[in-house]
Symmetry: C2
Subunit: 211 residues, 2 copies
Amino acid sequence: MPEVSDRAIGRLGLYRRLLKETQNQGKTHVFSHELAVLAGCTPAQVRRDVMTIGCSGSPAKGYDIDALIRSISRFLDPEDTLGVALVGVGNLGRALLSHFVGWGAQYSIVAAFDNDPDRVNRVIHGCRCYPVQEMPRVIEEKDIRVAIIAVPASEAQSITNQLCRAGVRSLVNFAPVRLWVREGVYVENVDVTMALERVAYFARESISERV
Amino acid sequence: MPEVSDRAIGRLGLYRRLLKETQNQGKTHVFSHELAVLAGCTPAQVRRDVMTIGCSGSPAKGYDIDALIRSISRFLDPEDTLGVALVGVGNLGRALLSHFVGWGAQYSIVAAFDNDPDRVNRVIHGCRCYPVQEMPRVIEEKDIRVAIIAVPASEAQSITNQLCRAGVRSLVNFAPVRLWVREGVYVENVDVTMALERVAYFARESISERV
DNA sequence: TTAACGTTGTGAATCCGTTCACAGAAAGTG
DNA sequence: CACTTTCTGTGAACGGATTCACAACGTTAA
């Protein structure tokens, strides 16, 4: 099992999405430079990434799309289906639910949590919403390892603590705060506020595209 | 004007938010190591970032919070108010609107665009929603430089082209695709799908926290 | 006044992701 | 079959962000 950076993990997922799209257009092979323009990176980067997951192509035809998708999936996807919990069913939470509904069997949001009486015990976008106090029980019962935090900043740390205690291994955090987690828990911060501040800064006259 | 990386820009915004919070707790000074734990980075990182914007502290008391906030604001914020457009008023778009409503005078979403007749010409979370075809006119009239793209992936590129043509300088892109923009336009991709894939990968047994 | 302490400011070292550059290989061509 | 072309695979070079490490300094205490 090679050691791969989180940046590379992200790109591999992107490649897979782009490859599926390309496949739908009837193509069976791609060259690194073709995938590179789709992904917005360099051909060398593509080749390096593909190499690290132990997949190889032919100098004449490029990479076999089907084989590459299978390699990426074998590398990225967990063996069994991965249950995901969503905490916070406000505007953002509902948007995420609708975004991930029918996302395929590999990952799916199998439980939502909130405290608002109007939301609790209802089914929203096909997902049952439980009260937060039942979180430990439900997470254990459904063997949930991943959680998405979409609660206000003020509640995020407390929710995180409960999630970690219940055995969650990694988190996507949408609250604009940095969470404290014990060693071994992976946190991916999606900070919309930061994104806007950055974009505002670079709106002045600036250059170039970034991930 | 020092040249600062986009990573540093993001951190500076984060520092500012954390500093305001700290200030509300009655403190007037912070040490680099205090801010570092709040921001989830190292003290050296904090000192370096603060240095690059030309602000200094005292070895005995640390940094004066008020002065630091003012320095960061002077560095990050545009001189005049910055108008932001939101394109796509679906679930995600509405979540973003409610997130940024009353965000302060510095940045604010001054126009929303959509094609759905149920949304067009209505005021949603205090923001007027225009039909997409009026985008060029409204963007020019309101001198909008920044846009948030919250439309389906299939429409994102076409919207981007129209925005760039209308003079938008930088974008936050929520659609799970890479956008092509002409040199000089800054794109910040917020790829929720990628975030989830990454988190799913690191749920296996992995280590450490990342931005 | 002097010494001890803990922090800032910053040149230098480090680390890690990215890119370069080229050998090796497969297909096409005459 | 030899020769050209164009790509892959990859060790090495590169670059830039991060961290180290320490001199300089303000404060406090004796």
